[in-house]
Symmetry: C2
Subunit: 558 residues, 2 copies
């Protein structure tokens, strides 16, 4: 199978003018704010006018634990969207935006792959429509207002040692992780230690992705806890009167971005929160807008189903009132083999026994997702090296779990290769069997929520935490934050906190190292491992070879 | 005269779709990259296709030294553009973009005022088309690559004490002026002291504004000197292989932004370099593109004619091969009175003697601009408190200088109020008397260039500098930078370095405190006073009252 590279396919795409894509969804030209000829934001007024319309059916695409073999979750999300359109359903794809900074370290990525991609690929890896820049500005305005407030007398009595709001930049820059600011004398303020995170790690990013509309955005921005007073009471962005100006900076960024698939079907690409210290889903406003415009909305969540789908259900769906109709779990024969103990170099050889040995990882995810009341189908994302016997082994295993696994060839064939999955998804969604419920109730204590996820989803034996961590949770409960859901930050490679443990382990211990409050986003982050919020550049960053060629195309980015 | 406020007028503007504005200049829709319905970038391919077309006539609008009375230079630039269109000339206005950060300290500003404005005003004060964000990204990528290079072994042997490239943010944030980075241990690099400037102070901004095209942009970015080795030889962005990726980040930002005046005439708003440590003019590419598309191009330069026009002529015109056909010097009766010793509170009362006493400031600027071989007309920007006798006093004074002063009422009346000036500008431009030449030749030594400006333009008696400063200039001359023009950073309020000295002083001393090399932009900065490159927020920043109202309009920004 000699397919051209993703970027070659993307550059050769015959794109429709974005007004033509909008027309497929009934969006008038005047309500599309174009950014060039192939990107547009959907106007707030138009979105507001959709209230009262019935919702389409929401389909989640999730996956097994990621392995170096690759699963193709986004490729399947895009392919399923095209497949649903092919069989006559008006379907919209909703995925996350890419972060600019990391592209200058390692190569940027396609949105999807092969014949199942979203375009324009280059622009989605560069400034796109400026959303992340707006988030950077809003975040850093709040930071500047904190230090400015202290400079002019600190009437809010913020404890300079307890300022928890850092700054952000959309750049891989390790030198900014840990800095001392306000040096240089009286006119520059009071020196203190702080640092920068990458923009996607900003709570403002998570807020933008969870806000229902501009009013909800402003309220959530105001709720951000930026510091504690000397009496340890929280100081919010509202106390600093920063919420209004932050909202103004984000008013355009809140409008979903419309682009298209290679097959000229509509896709919203909007928001991109971290999948560890945040919930890792595209924006609520894009998803809810798409549900008003499409019969089907296909979206995905970050990492595997243990982290991604759980947060999608327990944070995004819970808070936005979304009720998913079906879930697709993406698996590959190669990844099953790796879960069965095969090294990456040996993946080319047929090994049915290893496939069978690896399948329990998939089985755990099937059971977990079903546990939320959402019916499941497994998509086997076809690789050309897969043998018929290996594919059959996966199908047989999944059938034994009470689900169906369907071989999908969208990477090579586009929508023509994924019709069977599309039909199955329609069957599941229209069967009405979905009966979504989150895993835990709002009023469960915070630590019990963490334990519930660890035991029910990861099949851990226990969660252990220092007293200081447990005390912090109790302080937040006393301060009124106890009804928030929890957001687990943990390795995505394993049900345990050890990234090398594949398969479906049971009885392990989850160490809860640290907790953080994201009061504006509306969750408590439970950190169960090392979390890097500001990456660095590698020894030879890809920036060294990125340049414009004579045709004006970007070389070296992909 | 009860005119509504600038923002009320701007919001009530009947804007044409931006494609309609492009059509006035013969730009096909396909070559306009829209940003919403009222902003667009002009495609690089279209710009390249214009080569070989004859150029229109370039008109500079400059001013007396700014006073608290206000001069209205941008208002007159916009008004003159509308006036030229009114009398049947295809005219394009070219001005600078506004910086985002300062709007959250003090109120944002209109582009022009009264009936002579450019719209959309709100967006031009917020993210606009993202140019400044792109500059921030490109600048900070280079900074990250410097620290990353040191982290991975520093094969270029950069002296960590001699890294001259700081970081930037488009925010008023005094806490970032002076920082220590790379704290926190081995994985974060080598701690060093550095800081942040506001984005408009970035050399990348100056480069973007002086580059002729993308190739020239990449070459100039490569020329940036970021550090010196332990042997004190310059290390450039090209040595770090950052130039290509920076160019990619700036490829859209290099395309001029097309918007419109209240009278639906075309305006390019593009680039916004500091007028002190940089040259303070809109981009060369906007100006040269406008010259291919319009019969007349009206542009302005930062501050008064002593700083702004001199840099426009000696840096922008010299380097871009521009030959201005005429210059308008904006003055007001009120400003003449302040130069004549009247306090701001007393400006309401007629005082012909004070007007006459203040006129020598205007006379000095007339003579200076004529010295560049450019014919001059004075625009008296009318205020309703001006008396006939005061206006006549200015006219008489200017006539005695061999020029003409024309009363202009564009603020209140739009183009109808500025027809006389438009006709006079056409007369001057078509008379062919312009014979532009820069003030000094390229091959003059750097210090002699500074002395030439000080003596010929400021009428200073001498320039004094420490030996270290003079030695630095000689080092740069030896390193091949001697042919660069100089960029004076000095108070804009006076011909001296004392901002309180108005009028037309002679024989003063100019202290040259510091020099900086902007090798990519292509000038040596001569700092003759305190220069702030990162502002702070005031005690009550305007951010505290900025918010969206129920109509989605931005409140508190203006």
């Amino acid at each position: 199978m000699a397919l051209p590279s993703d970027i070659e396919i993307a550059r050769a795409a015959k794109k429709l003018p974005i007004q033509g894509i909008g027309a497929k969804l009934g969006i008038p030209e005047a309500d599309l704010l174009p950014y060039g000829h192939d990107k547009a934001k959907v106007g707030q007024g138009f979105i507001a006018s959709l209230r009262g319309r019935p919702d389409g059916k929401l389909i989640l695409v999730t996956a097994i634990n990621p392995t170096p073999a690759g699963e193709g979750k986004t490729t399947t999300t895009v392919g399923l969207g095209d497949g649903l359109n092919r069989i006559g359903k008006r379907a919209v794809v909703c995925i996350r935006e890419a972060s600019l900074g990391p592209n200058f370290g390692m190569k940027g990525g396609a949105a999807g792959g092969g014949m199942a991609q979203i375009v324009p690929m280059e622009e989605m890896n560069l400034h796109f429509t400026g959303d992340f820049h707006a988030i950077t500005s809003a975040h850093n305005l709040l930071a500047a207002m904190i230090d400015n407030h202290i400079y002019w007398g600190n009437t809010l009595d913020m404890d300079a040692r307890r300022i928890v709001w850092r700054r952000v930049m959309d750049m891989n820059d390790r030198a900014l992780r840990d800095v001392v600011t306000s040096l240089g004398g009286v006119s520059n303020g009071y020196p203190r230690q702080t640092g920068f995170d990458i923009t996607v790690a900003s709570e403002v990013m998570a807020i933008l992705c969870l806000a229902r509309d501009l009013d909800d955005l402003e309220r959530r921005l105001g709720d951000i806890v930026v510091a504690y007073t000397s009496a340890k009471t929280p100081v919010t962005a509202r106390d600093l009167k920063a919420d209004g100006a932050m909202t103004v900076l984000l008013k355009d960024a809140m409008q979903p971005n419309l682009v298209q698939t290679l097959e000229n079907n509509p896709a919203f690409v909007h928001g991109g929160p971290f999948a560890n210290i945040a919930h890792g889903c595209n924006s609520v406003i894009a998803t809810t807008t798409a549900l008003k415009l499409g019969e089907y909305v296909v979206t995905e969540a970050g990492f595997g189903a243990d982290l991604g789908a759980e947060k999608f259900f327990d944070i995004k769906c819970r808070k936005a009132g979304l009720r998913p109709a079906a879930a697709v779990i993406v698996a590959t024969v190669r990844a099953m083999k790796m879960n069965g103990g095969v090294a990456k170099a040996d993946l080319g050889a047929e090994n049915v026994a290893a496939v069978q040995a690896g399948c329990p990882n998939l089985g755990r995810h099937i059971a977990n997702v079903k546990g939320f009341g959402v019916p499941v189908v497994v998509a086997i994302n076809h690789f050309t090296t897969d043998t018929e016997a290996e594919v059959q082994a996966v199908k047989d295993y999944v059938a034994a779990q009470g689900a169906e696994a369907i071989l999908c060839k969208h990477w090579a064939q586009g929508s023509a290769g994924i019709e069977d999955l599309a039909r199955k998804v329609v069957d599941l969604a229209e069967s009405g069997v979905a009966d979504f419920a989150p895993l835990y109730p709002d009023d469960m204590p915070l630590f019990a929520k963490i334990e519930t996820i660890a035991k029910r989803i990861y099949h851990a034996g226990a969660v252990v935490a220092d007293k200081a961590v447990l005390d912090q949770l109790k302080v937040w409960e006393a301060a009124g934050y106890g009804a928030l859901p929890v957001c687990i930050a943990k390795t995505q490679y394993s049900f345990t906190t050890d990234p090398t443990v594949r398969g479906a382990p049971v009885g392990h211990t989850i160490p809860l190292r640290e907790v953080r409050l994201s009061a504006g986003a509306g969750f408590v982050v439970a950190i169960c491992g090392e979390i890097m919020t500001m990456p660095g550049l590698p020894r030879v960053p890809s920036a060294e070879v990125i340049r414009l060629n004579a045709d004006g195309d970007v070389e070296g980015l992909f």
